[in-house]
């Protein structure tokens, strides 16, 4: 009798574990499938000409150079605006802030900022940067919008990276009459640097794939030339993918998959860069 119950319990366990494992497979397979399928379908379209030429026939032919360039400009702009203030905010929270209501408010704001939908950042950017600051539908307005969105992530990762720097290093520096800022600048930041960079690279890669905000603050579908100044309009990969996938009739499928592949490669290569930095610094931790 006892043996029978044990058996049925074992069978239950086996069935349950199979289901759990199935859940894992369901979560994992689409990722691999999407990557492989995109490579297979789009790989043929991605030629040197595709990467280096302007689009023609509303994107049905030619290349996607301006979209690639535009996306890199956006990443650069986001980096320029989000990195200094984000890291400084991380420094404030870890090194200067006291445990008071203001600090709690800042942390609350950061946590909630991280959950604000991207389209809302689009509305914010449209109203503030495009209209109020009169930057127009421009690279500048879009970069600032994406930087606002990236801010929460940059602050959070900077804060964690700075917190991980041992207190002993700070004390060693302060104890020989080095000022607080110098200690932060010469001891804390160099130590926290890999962690900060990991977070920033991730945030930039998110910005590269973001579509909704730049849809609102005015990415262009087709432009005859590359942006010459921050006040020019721009094309961007994710927006280009959206338009050719949804709005252009009689679009050759292979080109759409090609655009998708390029976007995926850009975004995932930055993700991998972040992962590589993280692994590398973890190895260095033997020190």
């Amino acid at each position: 009798m006892a043996a029978v119950t044990l058996d049925s319990r074992k069978i239950t366990q086996r069935a349950a574990f199979t289901l759990l494992g199935l859940a894992m497979v369901i979560t994992t397979i689409p990722v691999l499938f999407i990557i492989i399928y995109t490579i297979l379908k789009g790989g043929g379209a991605v030629t040197w000409e595709f990467l280096t030429q302007f689009p023609s026939q509303a994107g049905r032919a030619g290349g996607i150079l301006p979209a690639i360039i535009g996306t890199f400009y956006l990443m650069l702009g986001t980096l320029i605006f989000a990195l200094p203030v984000g890291v400084m905010a991380g420094i404030y929270l870890t090194e200067y802030a006291r445990n008071n209501w203001l600090t709690r408010l800042i942390n609350l704001a950061i946590a909630n900022l991280a959950g604000v939908p991207s389209i809302i950042f689009g509305l914010f950017g449209l109203s503030v940067f495009v209209l109020a600051f009169n930057f127009g539908l421009s690279l500048l307005a879009a970069s600032l919008t994406l930087a606002c969105q990236a801010l929460a992530m940059v602050i959070t990762t900077s804060r964690e990276a700075i917190l991980a720097v041992p207190r002993e290093y700070r004390e060693g520096s302060l104890a020989i009459g080095v000022t607080k800022w110098q200690t932060v600048r010469h001891i804390v930041l160099p130590q926290a640097f890999p962690g900060i960079i990991t977070g920033v690279v991730l945030a930039i890669s998110r910005a590269a794939g973001e579509t909704a905000p730049i849809l609102v603050v005015g990415a262009a579908f087709l432009l005859p030339h590359l942006p010459q100044s921050p006040f020019d309009q721009f094309m961007a990969l994710p927006y280009h993918l959206y338009t050719v996938a949804v709005h252009v009739p009689n679009m050759p499928k292979e080109i759409v998959w090609g655009v998708a592949l390029v976007l995926l490669v850009v975004v995932l290569s930055f993700d991998m860069l972040a992962a590589a930095i993280r692994i590398k610094t973890r190895q260095r931790k033997y020190l």
């Binding site: 759990l20 691999l32 909630n112 509305l123 602050i155 991730l202 994710p238 996938a245 998959w257 992962a275």
Partner: protein
Amino acid sequence: MCHWLNRSNKEGLATLQEQVTAATVPTTGLRRRLRLGERFIEVWIFLSGLLAIVVLLGIIAILLKEGLPIFAHTPPWKFLFGAKWYPISDPPTFGIAPFVVSTLMVTLVSTVIAVPIGVACAAYLSEVAHRKLAETVKPIIEILAGFPSVMMGFIGLALLSPLVQSAFNLNTGLCGLTAAIMLSLMSLPIIVSVSEDALHVVPKEFKEASYALGATKWETIWHVCIPSALSGIAAAIMLGIGRAIGETMTVLMVAGGALAVPVSPTDPMTTMTAAIASGIGNAVRGGLQYQALFAVGLILFILTLAVNIIAERVLERQKRKFAR
């Protein structure tokens, strides 16, 4: 011994006092210095610290300023529950019930799909799977979190919608269900990782106690681990919901875009995010439609804020539960 301390205590101290007062003490180098550059940087640091608050308050202010005026045209009640969205008719009608219902429907369906799979996946990774397997699978799931939403929209459009169309025998595969499936895929990474963290902090003693009573591994997971991690899992679910509510591109591309109040998930529909994204380009700045779309943004913002705050509260409680 120092000479002056050889004497009796009192005498020694007196001598000390004399010496101190007598000595001409150098005051150089201890006076507070200005260090202007440093002060400047510290002000910058402080202002940067405030920036998160500034941006969040700025978002709230903008949504209120641009969105509230619509309620002079359409009362809040009618705005929220009106079933007709005719922004360019004469006179225009602004009822956002179709968008609200679509958002709730898509979110609900995607949550129903994603939660069991996500939690089961987390349980498998943290309790059952070999370390090596888990270490391989986790980065793959992280990649999923990195997929741009427009990419997921495109996949839904190109691959999933034909499947849904034929499976449910629909006129179009671009419907709420297709969007919900894609959204569930997109919220899986956060559900898995937060649930896994929650399962991870369940004290080993709990599990050992269960094994000691003769329970199998599965019984321990089901009766001990998951109940103990419940609040963490709840937080994971809330975060997943927050993500699904706010997602724009995927639903814009695959949910179908119909403006009627949807009855079933297999209807084409327009969520609040998709309504803003598709309408804002054509809206006249400061016009009624522009105001109405910002008001939709305001409601969306409040909704996600509420979900996130609940998630944080729950997570906080989970952390305190096993804090030792």
